[in-house]
């Protein structure tokens, strides 16, 4: 029988006693990020797919069309990476119990994220092509748009974490929020790198 023998004598009645709350929250966030990862993967599939079929020469129809500026792409990408690095520094700070490293790290990473967000929106809007100008343009705009969605989320979460860091809500022992939001932060920084690798390995022009 699935015997439910009440625990006796061990004082094991408190809900939390056998549940590792930290592990639970970390696992939940990891699974959530994992679903986002699958979403990005399925989105990325569109790029090699449409490129390889190139139906009716529709992948890159206007040979004079200017590609997105590589320099800006790399700059925005580096902004994300540096932001993630500062986030990690902040996290290491609170792990060592240093509130100010956490606060400075969070603040700098948030500011960089905001710059990346504004930059990405301006970059997307400044392209010479628009939707309907071939499937390369469509996929590029799709990735760009999804990246902006990522950045919006990261900014929202970053605002919360930074604000709470300045309120002193995190301690050496309890800083779960910094850890879990970090997962999303790193993933948001990793996405444009993946896209960049994809577009370098399979250049837009056939």
């Amino acid at each position: 029988m699935d015997t439910a023998v009440p625990a006796s004598g061990h004082g094991e009645h408190a809900a939390a006693s056998h549940i590792d709350e930290e592990r639970k929250v970390r696992l939940g966030m990891l699974f959530y990020v994992l679903t986002d990862v699958t979403f990005v993967i399925f989105m990325l599939v569109a790029y090699p797919w449409l490129r390889s079929y190139n139906t009716d020469q529709g992948w890159f129809p206007f040979q004079h069309m200017r590609l997105p500026d590589q320099g800006t792409t790399v700059t925005l990408l580096l902004l994300m990476v540096v932001s993630a690095v500062f986030y990690f520094i902040g996290y290491m700070g609170i792990r060592a119990g240093n509130q100010w490293i956490l606060r400075i790290g969070m603040l700098i990473s948030l500011v960089l994220m905001l710059i990346a967000l504004v930059g990405q929106i301006r970059f997307m809007g400044s392209q010479q092509f628009s939707t309907g100008d071939g499937t390369f343009a469509d996929t590029w705009l799709l990735f760009s748009g999804y990246h902006i969605y990522h950045l919006l989320w990261a900014t929202f979460l970053g605002l919360g974490v930074t604000h709470r860091a300045f309120r002193g809500r995190y301690t050496k022992e309890k800083h779960l929020g910094v850890v879990t939001i970090g997962y999303f932060w790193y993933w948001a920084a990793l996405t444009p790198i993946l896209i960049f690798i994809l577009m370098t390995a399979l250049p837009p022009k056939l």
Binding site: G28, L34, D56
Partner: protein, 639 residues
């Protein structure tokens, strides 16, 4: 009055305000003049309106309170606040607001799922009425195709929800000895997201119906919403895509929650090998939901972009009536769809496997026969189901050279499925079988699902699939698996857990009548549909060749019997819920944890978290004999 704020009432009010504000903002500030090459402002307004509808709803029911208190670093909720949010002492109103108690969420899901099944069944009724005789009987094809699409999609949404939703929420946490789900707020949120999704979905027929673009309003695509036709069809498609993306989001959040709960919240001693099979089934299904759903969400997102911003992910520009700008590939849509679509059918069926094993064990008064094999079966199906999706594209022309491989995986998946049959037969054999309503439904699963599975083997074979694909044979096959397999298990699960969830017994007599109506109606209707498929009748047609008349007439008549019997079963649920016999805590003599709690289950389920010491359903010779001795001679009275 204060109790009504926040509640679903305020949610509905803010949602409507949100829709009007969003759509009017687009029409007045962004644009309303649709040019062939420019954005489609009408549908852009719809999407923005739906988004604000959704956000207004969440604000109105108070779901966004916590994120913003978190953002502003206000006081973290204490235990008292959590209990208030879980609906402590709130009375009946707690079912009509954002409540975190997993049992409330489970009941909310159950009611919503029954409503969805009701609408889907109405669709089935209309479809079978139209197909009763050849010729255009009731509807123009525009209406008929929209009904087909809505029936398909709504039933899919209902069936992917109807185990994870009601039972995954209500039963699983108690079964594994937890006080609640891992993330109670997220749990309430995933239900809260599903409600506006269904409301938006049900609005499909009202969008652009009868519009003169030559391709019909509503949605003309079928639930598969393939590539370019989804771009071409009426405005209802935008509503469908938005609704299903929201529902998918809800399903992903729910799945993440269920997975985390099962991994981290098990009571002491509840090892993986001691979980009831239901938990395994729902765990496997949650994995599929978490990993597969994104694929369909991407598909729908691309469809929305194709429709609104005139991108061309799916539309090629060949020929005169090309849809969209060109360069797109329709096979991309098929693959994105079926990479979700195939795991999705196992998402429906895996919990059914688990539940049917548990029900059979309880009513055979035996431990589950070869438990490990059952687990292996469920998890094996879970893994292999990601490797078979191309069998939906055997005739699509995409990668025909891969067919031998997908044929192999598809036939291979029948092996772990067979394990479940062995477990069921082994558990039944030499048991002490108690023919209750849940048990009858569980046994009907054996009959129906073996037919569904065997017909699936026919379809997995490429040469046969080339003939049968896209025909009524396929329709009959998957109805045998989903209705005959999963829906019967849903009915079994409702009957089985009804006493625990509602505190009342489901009326056996009415249930018995409904059961036989359902079985006879279902089997005759769909066996006859197999014949129509063999004869060469295509799916999803509003009208057909008189050669198929006899088979369709029989199908329709018995489908009416099926629908009437299901309606009777629903009536039974309602009437028993209101005025049924009061149930004791453990009417079935089941041994899993949820039956050891009092009925109604108190707010945090257990006074003390139990310690589990053995595998599930360890009925022994002694206990069963003792039970037999204690029974009246007739042995028929409910425990």
């Amino acid at each position: 009055m204060r109790k009504l704020f926040p509640s679903y009432l305020t949610g509905a009010i803010l949602a409507i305000i949100g829709y009007i504000a969003g759509s009017q903002f687009v029409y007045h500030r962004i644009g309303s003049d649709n040019q062939p090459a420019g954005p489609n402002f009408t549908e852009q307004g719809m999407v923005v309106g739906f988004a604000l509808f959704f956000i207004g709803w969440l604000i109105g029911i108070g779901a966004l309170k916590y994120p913003f208190t978190w953002l502003l670093a206000l006081k973290d909720p204490d235990h008292e606040e959590e209990m208030r949010l879980a609906g402590k002492d709130a009375g009946i109103i707690r079912y009509f607001k954002f409540t975190t108690d997993h049992k409330v969420v489970g009941i909310q899901y159950l009611v919503l799922v029954l409503i969805m099944l009701g609408f889907g069944g109405l669709g089935a009724l209309l479809i079978r009425s139209e197909l009763m005789r050849p010729g255009a009987l009731l509807f123009p094809t525009e209406t008929y195709n929209t009904i087909v699409t809505m029936h398909g999609m709504l039933m899919i949404l209902a069936t992917i929800t109807f185990f994870i939703g009601p039972f995954g929420n209500f039963i699983v946490p108690i079964m594994i000895g937890a006080r609640d789900m891992a993330f109670p707020r997220l749990n309430a949120l995933s239900f809260a997201i599903l409600v506006p999704a269904i409301v938006i979905f049900l609005s499909i027929p009202f969008w652009g119906y009868g519009q003169a673009n030559g391709y019909g309003g509503g949605v003309q695509t079928g639930w598969t919403v393939y590539g370019p036709i989804a771009t071409q069809t009426g405005m209802g498609m935008t509503a469908l895509a938005t609704a299903v993306i929201l529902a998918g989001f809800s399903s992903i959040l729910g799945a993440v929650n269920v997975i985390t709960t099962i991994i981290t919240m098990r009571a002491p001693g509840m090892r993986w090998t001691r979980m009831p099979m239901t938990v395994w089934g729902i765990f496997g299904a949650a994995l599929l939901a978490a990993l597969g759903t994104s694929s369909f969400a991407v598909d729908l997102l691309l469809i929305l972009l194709d429709r609104i911003y005139k991108t061309s992910f799916f539309a090629a520009s060949t020929g005169g009536n090309a849809v969209g700008a060109g360069g797109g590939n329709a096979w991309l849509s098929q693959n994105l769809f079926w990479f979700f679509g195939h795991p999705e059918v196992y998402l429906i069926v895996l919990p059914a496997f688990g539940i049917v094993c548990d029900v059979v064990a309880v009513f055979s008064r035996k431990p589950i026969f070869s438990y490990k094999m059952g687990v292996l079966g469920i998890m094996g199906v879970c893994v292999v189901s990601f490797l078979v999706w191309q069998h939906h594209e055997f005739v699509s022309g995409w990668a025909p050279e891969l067919r031998f491989w997908y044929m192999a995986t598809t036939e291979l998946i029948s092996v772990p499925t067979g394990f479940v049959f062995l477990v069921l037969l082994g558990t039944l054999w030499r048991g002490r079988i108690w023919m209750t309503l849940p048990m009858m439904f569980a046994l009907s699963f054996l009959w129906n699902f073996v037919i569904g599975g065997l017909s699936g083997v026919f379809l997995s074979d490429v040469p046969l699939d080339v003939q049968l694909h896209g025909g009524m044979f396929v329709t009959a096959h998957f109805h045998y698996t989903i209705v005959g397999g999963a829906l019967m298990c849903f009915f079994a699960a409702v009957a089985y857990w009804f006493p625990k969830m509602t505190g009342r017994m489901l009326d056996e007599k009415l249930g018995w009548i409904a059961f036989w109506g359902i079985q006879i109606g279902f089997n005759v209707a769909f066996l006859s549909m197999f014949i129509a498929g063999l004869q060469g009748m295509p799916r999803r047609v509003a009208d057909y060749d008189p050669a198929f008349a006899t088979a369709n007439f029989i199908t329709s008549i018995f489908a009416f019997l099926l629908i009437a019997s299901v309606a009777l079963y629903f009536y039974n649920i309602v009437i028993s819920w209101v005025a049924g016999k009061k149930a004791v805590a453990n009417p079935w003599g089941a041994l899993s944890l949820e039956w050891q709690t009092p009925t109604p289950v108190p707010l945090e389920n257990f006074e003390e978290i139990p310690v589990v010491t053995s595998a599930p359903f360890q009925y022994t010779q002694e206990t069963v004999e003792a039970e037999a001795a204690a029974e009246p001679a007739a042995g028929q009275a409910a425990g």
